[in-house]
Structure formats: C-alpha cells, structure tokens
C-alpha cells in the first residue's frame, strides 16, 4: 500500500515530464493534478484503514543490502500518518495554485510539474521510511528536485539561493552521513548489522558514542528545520523561489527536520536527547524571537513569510524537547497546522505578487479596495499564522506553550512574546499592503480567479475545522506520543494540587 503511495507520484511525475503530452501545457497540468489527486485518494484510504490504537502499521520490509543491514522498509505510525496526509493534501493544492508558474522558467512546464510530483514521492518516502539508511538516501534525494525547482523557475537571484540551499543542506547531510555510518559500526559490534529503526531503537550505546551520533543527526535536522543560527538559507530560498515551491519547501520538506528529531533523535538516542535538551531549548527560544523580530523588519513578503517559519519551528522544537504529552502532541499537530497555514499565506501572497509583479510590501497599498476577496483570504491566512483562537494553529501553539510551562515556566515566559511579535509581523504586512489609499501601480490588481479560490478555500476550511475539531488528528497522535514518552522514559508530571496537598496544610482547615 505504501509502496503504491510512493510509486504513483514518482511514475506520474516521470510521465508528466517525459510523455509526449509535455508539448501541451494544459494537458500536462491536468495530468499532474490528476496524479496528485490519485495520491490524495490513496492517502485517505490509508488513513481510513489506520487503527488509531497506534503502532507502526502498513509495514513493508524487504532486505536491500544485507551486508550493511539496510532494508527497503516502510510503515506509518501517528506521526508518519499526519505528515503523509499533509503532503498528500498540499500537493494538489500547490499544483492548482501554481498552474502557470511552470510556464516561464528555464525548462518546460512538464519538467516543473514532474519535479513537483517527484518531490512529493520522495517526501512521502521520507515520512514512511522505517530504515535509517533508506531514510538518509531519500532525505538527501529531496534536495535534487528542490534545487532544480528553485534554480530553474525562481526570481532574479535564484542561482545563488539554490546553491546556498544546497550547500547548507549537503553539509548537514554529510554530518548525518557520518552518524549513519557510525550507527552501522555500532550495530555491527552488537551482532548482525541492521538499519531497521525497530532494531536501532533498542541498540545499547555507550553514553559518549550516543551523544556523538545524536549530534550528527541533530545538526542535519536543525539545518533542515531550520533553527537559529543555521536558518539563513531559508529566507533566501523563499524570496527567490516561486510560491508553490516555497510551500513544498517550508510546509513539507522543512518538517523532515522536526520529524527527524522526534523519530530518530528521540527514537534512537533517548538519553542523549535529554542530555542535549538545555542547549536545544535555548536555540529554539532564540529561533522564536529572532525569526519573528527579523520578519518584522522585512520589506519582501516572501522573505518575511520564510522568516516567520523560523519562529514557528522554534515552537515545534520546544514542544518536542519538553518531553510531555501536551508539548509533543502540540508539536506534532503544529507540524500539520503550520504546513497548512503557511501554505495558505504563501499561495495567497503569491497570487498578489503575480498580479503586481513585485514582492515588496512598500509597492502596495489599498489592495482591499480593488480586490476584496484576495484581501479577505490574505487576512484569514495571516490570522492563522498568528495562531488566532478558532484557527487550527491556536490549538497546537497553546499545547506547546502549556507543555513548556509544565516543564519549566521560564521556557513558556520567554517563548510567549513570540505571539505578540507574530501579531505585529502579520498585521503590519496586511495593513501596509491591503489598507489605506490605493497605491500607484496597484490598480492593475484584479480579484482572485475561480481557480485560485478553489485552491485557497480547502486550506482555510481545514484551518477552521481543525481549529474547532482537531480530535481526529489528536486521536492518532496521542498514542504515538505516549509510545515515544515511554520509550524515552519520561512520564507526565502530576498537577501541583494532586501531588502536594500537604503544602497547604496551614489553610487546610478552612477548606473543610
């Protein structure tokens, strides 16, 4: 089943890119959309058949290189399922929203959509892999389509942005490769070498080795996520890339970073993860505030949105590393919600940029007067990015903050100004572009076309529905989080009133 899920977009992507239909742009686009919708159907079938009780399901396992103990092994648990669904939902929307983006690039329309579908296939593989080596190969392979998508269809400075993305991520990948090979050495020492996650999570590592290997994985994931101070490739990439590619990059690919922290760092190196917690939390807190502050100072909308993600990934990382149910459920949910809300903001801002041909906030003003529907969508997606209650993002952000408070009040107190700054960067952008008198050059902005509305509406609907009814997702996430916590050896602390009633013995009499 999972193999089919990977093969459909992969083969579909090849067909879109190389079949004779590529000479007909419209047919190419329609074909790409159909393929991505087929993937969505498959993903929904998988979700419906998933037993919410938890555990790794839809497991497939074939030995690959037995000498190294590598396998072609797939499976999804609550975490994997959530991200597989996110990928499957976002890709058709991106294709629809980016309908004409592929027409003006270095290569043809077919190549653009072929790469997009290939990227979808690889991302699905990353989220479904249960073998570390397979994961590593797919993780690195996602860079190839991303690199070409930014370098081939982006803004004026796209070559530099693409190269920067590649250098940063390759560097992270190489550090991880060291750790991956290190894992082989350790696994071989313990008997038969195996890269299966299920084997590795029970591997007995000496403290020193475990810490070194953890650091190797963590650096790669921190670059991917991205966290301060290795985040600078991201705003460049979103500034230069087309909006659709930015969605794939920020909403889906960057999740590999936080996904990897949860699955591999905590899964294989539970003790080292706790050892590293203070440093990780501090970096994440810096990311939250730093990303938000720098975002406020931006004039380029796409760069601004990229930087907001640095701030949001800080929240996700905090939720992971506070080691309690609220934090980790919040983080997992946050990955999905952030994917949807950031996609909405990127795409709607992209619609705007496409019309006026400028990404600079200072070139706009009064758009609400000429394109009220577009303004409405920009406001709604902006509100979800600032985690307004009623939007899906609020639930996850609140869970992370509460989890942080339970672990240590200071983490929450330092993180929470992030929500004030979020209001500033979102509303500042909205105020300057949408309100006030109509700026010169903005008269050309037409309101959204039906195709664009169809692309944006599902995102907004999802954000509102999940804002009030996140239960279906939380139900599959919760068992996964409980498994992870028990694997790490952490239990939720009891509330203060339950654990220490004697601390108020002095006034207990008045309670009776």
């Amino acid at each position: 089943m999972l193999t089919a899920l990977l093969l459909v977009p992969l083969v579909g992507g090849l067909v879109v890119a190389f079949a004779p239909t590529r000479r007909n742009p419209l047919l190419t686009k329609q074909l790409a959309l159909v393929v991505s919708l087929a993937v969505l159907v498959l993903a929904v079938v998988i979700a419906v058949g998933y037993d919410p009780g938890g555990g790794m399901q839809y497991v497939e396992e074939i030995s690959w290189i037995s000498a190294f103990g590598t396998h072609y092994a797939l499976g999804v648990d609550g975490l994997g399922l959530a991200l597989v669904l996110l990928t499957a939902v976002l890709t058709p929307i991106v294709i629809l929203a980016a309908w004409n983006d592929g027409d003006e690039g270095r290569w043809g329309t077919g190549t653009y959509f072929g790469f997009l579908l290939g990227l979808e296939a690889l991302s699905l593989g990353v989220f479904a892999a249960t073998d570390v080596f397979l994961f590593y190969v797919l993780f690195e392979a996602t860079l190839i389509p991303t690199y070409f998508l930014i370098g081939g269809w982006g803004g004026p400075d796209r070559a530099r942005a693409a190269a920067k993305l590649l250098i940063y991520n390759l560097l992270g990948g190489l550090v991880m490769l060291v750790a991956v090979i290190g894992l082989y050495v350790e696994s071989a020492k313990a008997g038969t070498p195996s890269y299966l996650l299920s084997d590795l999570s029970n591997l007995d590592l000496s403290t020193g080795v475990e810490r070194w290997l953890f650091v190797g994985f963590f650096i790669a994931f921190a670059i991917k996520a991205p966290m301060f101070p290795v985040h600078t490739w991201l705003p460049d990439a979103t500034q230069q890339g087309t909006p659709g590619v930015s969605v794939m990059l920020v909403s889906i690919l960057d999740k590999i970073g936080t996904f990897g922290m949860l699955r591999y760092c905590l899964g294989i190196f539970p003790d080292a993860s706790q050892w590293a917690t203070p440093v990780v939390i501090v970096l994440a807190l810096i990311s939250i505030l730093y990303g938000a502050l720098v975002a406020i100072g931006q004039d380029d909308m796409m760069r601004l949105i990229g930087l907001t993600s640095v701030s949001h990934f800080g929240f996700i990382v905090i939720g992971i590393f506070v080691f309690n149910s609220q934090g980790q459920s919040g983080s997992t949910l946050y990955m999905v919600n952030h994917g949807i809300s950031t996609a909405a903001l990127f795409l709607v801002a992209g619609f705007l940029v496409k019309r006026r041909r400028s990404q600079l906030i200072s070139d706009y003003g009064g758009v609400e007067k000429v394109a009220p529907v577009l303004a409405g969508f920009l406001l709604l997606s902006g509100l979800s990015v600032l985690s307004l209650p009623g939007m899906a993002t609020f639930v996850s952000e609140l869970l992370v903050l509460v989890g942080a408070w339970v672990e240590h009040p200071w983490i929450a107190i330092v993180a929470v100004p992030g929500i004030v700054l979020a209001a500033v960067y979102v509303l500042r952008m909205y105020q300057r572009t949408m309100t006030g008198p109509v700026a010169p050059g903005v008269e050309v902005v037409t309101d959204l076309r039906p195709r664009e509305v169809v692309a944006a509406v599902p995102l907004i609907v999802l954000l509102v529905v999940l804002g009030f009814y996140p239960k279906p997702l939380l139900d599959v996430i919760d068992p996964y989080v409980q498994d992870t916590l028990s694997h790490v050896g952490k239990a939720d602390p009891a509330p203060a009133v339950g654990s220490a009633p004697e601390s108020r013995a002095d006034s207990a009499g008045s309670d009776q």
Partner: protein
C-alpha cells in the same frame, strides 16, 4: 506571610467560595448552543454569501441577534423559576482538545452571571443593530459591517458562556478580531487601519497573560475547566494562586483598556460609532471585569492579586477621567469616560465578595447609559456631517431634541444624579471601597467629582451655548431607526437601578460569587450618598463656571497649563509606550536585520567563498550538478573515514 494574610482575612469575613458544579441542561436551557449559533450563522451567511445578501443581509443579522435575545430571555425566566442552587447549567458539545491528561471540552456554562451577560450582549447588541440600519444606510459596505457585528456578538457570547478558560480565550480573541475588523472598517483611512492594528497588538500583550495563565492553571490543577479549578483552588499553593491572579489581571488590562495597556481605546474611536457603543463601551471592554468575577475562586484565595486589581482600578478610573476633561473630540471624551468607568468596575471586583455583584451591577447600568450616549454622539455626528469636534457644536438641543433628551438621561445616570441608574451602582462601589480601603474609596470619590466635571463640560459644549457649526452644516434630527434605540436605552439608563431593589442582583449572583455580610461604614448610607452627591455637584458647578458661562472658542486655546496639555495628550501614554517598548524593539529589529545579513550568514557564506567563491561554486553546481554531488559525496566519505579513524583511536 501571605498565607497568614489569607487565613486572617477568611477569619474576619467567613466566606465560602462557591464551586462551579453545573447540572446538565434540559428544556429550553438545552438550546444554549443556539444562542451562539444564530449570530454565527448570520456572520457566515453575510460574509461568505457576498453581494447576493446585500439587500436582506443586514435585516437578517438584526433578526438573528433578537432571536438570541429571545432565547436569552426564555432561559433567564427558566432559571428564575428554579431554586437558587439549581441555577448552574452545563452543556457538553464535543471534545475540543485532548492531549495526555488535559481534556478541553467545547462546553458551555449558563449560570446567573452568564445569564445577565447574555441579556446585555444580545439586548443592547440588538438595539445597536437596529441603530446601525439607519447609521450605515449609505455605506457601500453595509452588509460586511453587519457580518462583522454578528461575528462580534457570537464571539462575545462564547466568551461569557464558555465553561473552560480555553473556551473563554477563544471568545476573548474572537471579540478582539471583530474589534480589529470594525475599528479598521473604514480602512481606506490610514489612521483607522493603524488604530486597528494598535488595538490588536496591545491586546496581544494582554493575551500574554491569558496564554501563560492557562499554562499555569493546567500545571497547577491538571485541568482548565471552571468546575475543576474552582473545586481544587483551595488546595493550590499561595504562590500559584497569586501568579494566576496577576496573569489574569494582565489579560483583563488588555481587553478592558486598563492601565498600563490603555493606549488603544482612544484610537479605537476611529471605528463607526455603533461599534464604539457596542464593543468599546457596553460589552467587549468589560470582558476583563467578567474574567475577574468569573475567576472569583482564584482571587478570593489570592489577596495580593486582589490588591493589584484594586490598584489598577484606582489608577485607571482617575487616568480616564483626566483624559475625558481635556479632549474636544466627543467620542474621545466618552472613551476616556469608558476607561474610567471600567476602572470603577475593576476596583469593585478587586474588593472581593463584597464587590463582585456591584461590579456587575455597574457593568450593566454602564452598558445602558454609555451605549446610550455613544449612540447619541453618533446621532449628533450624523446630523453635523460627521464632525466630532465639540467646539463645532453648541446649541444642538434645538436642532436635535430627541438626541438631546436621551443623551441627558445618560448624562444624569453617569454623573450619579439621585435616582438614576448610575447613582445606585456607582454609589455602592464607592461605599464598599471606603469600607475596605479608605485610599481606594477616596480615589473613587474624587473620580466621581471629575466625572461630574467632564460630562457637564461635554453637555454644555454640545447642546448649549452658541451655534458654532459651519454655515453649510445643517444639523437635523436622526431617522427613526436611530432614535428608537436611543429612547429605549435612555429609559434603561433611568430605570436600571431597579436591579438593586431588595438587593436582588446581590442575591441573584450569590450562587456564583458567594454570600457576604454587608460591611457598614461609620456613617449611614444616606449620609454617605449625600456626600457623594455633593462631590459630584462640585464637579458640575466647576464645569459650569469654566465652560458654561463663557463662549467656547472654535479653536482649542494653545496657551494652556502643563496639566491640560498632558491630559490632551492622554497623559503621554503613547509616548511612554514608544520610549519603553516600541523604539527599543524597532532598534533591535534594525540591528538584527543587519546582523542576519552579515554576521551569521556572512560566516556561512565566508566559508563557502574561502572554498572557492560562492559564485564559482554555484556556477559549477549549475553546469554539472550530478558530478559535483558525486564529488561532495566523495569528500563526505573521506570525512567519514577520517572521523571513524579518530573514533577508533
């Protein structure tokens, strides 16, 4: 030490904090969800339906709010017919958030406190919808305005009906969003757009308190429902209770424009006047008072936090009153006054069991008379080509008799003229404050005098004296849709005091806030009321001497004292915010922005350049990507080998 204080207090005033323990909703109370659903439906139809609903949308929106009001009345009658300990009703709709031990239901709670709020929100809200039918008649975006109004009513109902702090938070931000949209309704005006953003951002600072408060409440109690928290509050540590109290107070300061988060309210007057009446006078800005009274089980056990509440209330009631004295913009005078009157309510809610009921009582009467006066101000603006400067009014009582008479009822109510609603409600607060803390009592009494001054000044400048409007302005009375709500609200402003008959409101709220032995002052209540009336009279006379006896210049005189200048500038609240928060933050942003481009990134790009120049690298990567990748992999492998050698050593 605080523990000793708690037990000392509880021994002096033996009170029992009621536990929230609702019974399941049945009969007409089972329709609780529908009270919220009706305006939600209205907002959806009007905002999603688009232009198709232009013709009938505003009417539908108005009807739906009255539908909720009808339900509210029916439910109110139902709980009145029940015995006192059977007046708390809960309704579980669905499970909203569940993570580990934390369960948050989409749950509603209907009790005497929320019952009164439902009536206020839907009743005054309905009247303001009717008024808006006339006021916004010629606005091209009228439908959208009504959609936002319905959204507001729905969110405000969520705020007061939620049974969990997270649910309250949802309504809390919902009203904030509606307020943002409505302050910036005329967003083609840059000043309106800026005011909307300012209101939202300052409120987010208050949310700081709300978000952290929810965190601390969960960490302390393992639940965030009112029922769970009120049941366990007695077992929590003093430190936790005090911290929760202060965090909730911070949240209240944002939403209720209390010092030091007051700066947004005067700017918020950029919104259409019905919005100022509904959101920025009668309902939303009182949410902070609701939050404190609702959390009485926390504040009762945290005297230190209650002291904080009293201090904030006293500062703000004077702060707002002083601003009200110096402004020439009629809406800003009323906004300063709102700030000040909410200060009274906050003060009362800080007085504990003795004050909660009076806080809510004043909240209701203020809802009547302030909505009345804001709508009256809207009516004068409507008749004078949207002029807001009182220096351009004068003698409007001749041209707008209905507006004048209804406004006068509101005026008499707010200054506390004997017999009018404000007299009863404000008097009770001042009296209770004196009984507990003479300093707070003195602040409240002085505030009453200042209120007498600025409200008399407003009346004289607007409705009396000489005509000062431009020759091409022809003041006229407003249409029936606007004057009928004015008459209804004026009647309520006069009669609102009946709620206190036989201590009805105190007894009615007792199941929520607890019972209390009345504390008696050394002097009789009648003598005390007389003193209060004299203080107000002094304010009125001073206003008459300084404003009424002289001609009001059309331009504000500039050679004024420092105090007047400070009051005109809102006591430099904006300047303080700029100096302490905005400017340092913007400097940090500029510095970080530069650093992000140079230091952090420069280091990374420097590494790349030292390898062979970034441009060369990128060119090479573009020419032969696969080959470079292979080379990179090879280099990586070499690194791995080296690393392994090191490890094996």
């Amino acid at each position: 030490m605080t523990a000793a204080l708690t037990s000392a207090l509880t021994s002096v005033v033996p009170t029992e904090v009621p536990v929230v323990d609702p019974s399941s909703a049945d009969g007409v109370l089972g329709l609780l969800w529908l009270v919220i659903a009706l305006p939600v439906l209205g907002a959806l139809v009007l905002l999603v339906g688009g232009r198709r609903t232009n013709a009938w949308g505003p009417g539908l929106a108005t009807g739906l709010v009255f539908g909720s009001f009808g339900l509210g009345v029916a439910m109110f009658v139902e709980i009145l017919s029940r015995s006192e300990d059977d007046r708390q009703v809960g309704q579980h709709l669905w499970t909203w958030i569940s993570a580990g031990q934390w369960q948050v239901g989409a749950d509603l709670l209907y009790d005497p406190l929320s019952a009164l709020f439902v009536l206020l929100i839907t009743g005054v809200g309905g009247l303001i919808h009717v008024y808006s039918l006339g006021y916004m008649e010629h606005d091209a975006r009228k439908r959208r305005f009504f959609g936002y109004l319905n959204l507001f009513v729905a969110a405000m109902l969520v705020l007061v009906l939620a049974a969990d702090y997270v649910g309250t938070f949802l309504g809390w931000e919902g009203v904030g969003l509606a307020s943002y949209l409505l302050i910036g309704f005329w967003q083609h005006k840059p000043s309106a757009a800026a005011a909307a953003k300012k209101a939202f951002v300052i409120n987010r600072v208050g949310d700081f308190g709300m978000a952290l408060g929810v965190g601390l409440i969960f960490a302390t109690f393992g639940t965030t429902s009112f029922a769970g928290v009120s049941e366990a509050a007695g077992r929590a540590s003093d430190g936790a209770l005090i911290a929760i109290g202060f965090l909730l107070l911070l949240a209240a300061c944002g939403k209720s424009a209390q010092f030091p988060l007051q700066a947004w309210l005067l700017d918020a007057m950029e919104g259409p006047t019905p919005v100022s009446a509904l959101i920025h006078a009668a309902t939303m800005v009182t949410a902070g008072v609701y939050l404190i009274v609702r959390s009485n089980f926390i504040f009762e056990l945290a005297p230190a936090a209650r002291t904080g509440v009293i201090v904030i209330g006293c500062i703000t009631l004077l702060y707002g009153a002083v601003i009200g004295c110096a402004k020439d913009d009629i809406k800003k005078v009323l906004a300063g006054s709102t700030m000040s009157q909410i200060g009274y309510m906050v003060l009362a809610s800080g007085l504990g069991v003795a004050g909660y009921a009076f806080a809510i009582f004043h909240l209701l009467t203020h809802g009547f008379f302030k909505a009345n006066m804001f709508l009256g101000a809207g009516s004068t603006m409507h008749g004078t080509d949207d002029d807001v400067d009182m220096r351009h009014y004068g003698l409007l009582r001749k041209a707008m008799p209905v507006t004048f008479l209804t406004f006068a009822m509101g005026y008499l109510a707010i200054i506390g003229f004997p017999g009018f609603s404000g007299f009863w409600s404000k008097d009770k607060i001042i009296e209770t404050a004196f009984a507990q803390n003479p300093v707070a009592g003195a602040c409240a009494l002085v505030g009453a005098g200042v209120t007498g001054f600025y409200m008399t000044r407003l009346m004289l400048m607007t409705f009396f004296g000489k005509e000062r409007w431009e020759p091409d302005v022809h003041p006229h009375e407003s249409p029936r849709t606007m004057t009928v709500p004015l008459v209804v609200l004026a009647a309520l402003s006069v009669l609102g005091g009946v709620l206190l008959l036989g201590d009805w409101i105190v007894d009615f709220l007792a199941p929520v806030v607890g019972e209390h032995e009345e504390e008696h002052l050394a002097i009789s209540p009648l003598a005390f009321s007389a003193i209060a009336v004299v203080v107000v009279a002094v304010g009125v006379v001073v206003a008459w001497l300084t404003v009424g006896r002289r001609d009001v210049p059309r331009e504000a005189p500039q050679d004024v004292s420092f105090v007047t200048r400070a009051a005109r500038n809102e006591l430099y609240g904006n300047e303080v915010n700029d100096a302490l928060v905005v400017t340092p933050t913007m400097r940090t942003i500029t510095a970080l922005d530069a650093a992000d481009g140079r230091a952090v990134d420069g280091a990374a790009e420097g590494v790349a350049r030292s390898v062979g120049g970034l441009s060369a690298v990128s060119r090479r990567l573009q020419n032969g990507y696969v080959r470079s990748y292979a080379v990179a992999l090879l280099a990586g492998a070499a690194l791995v080998v080296a690393a392994l050698l090191v490890v094996n050593l």
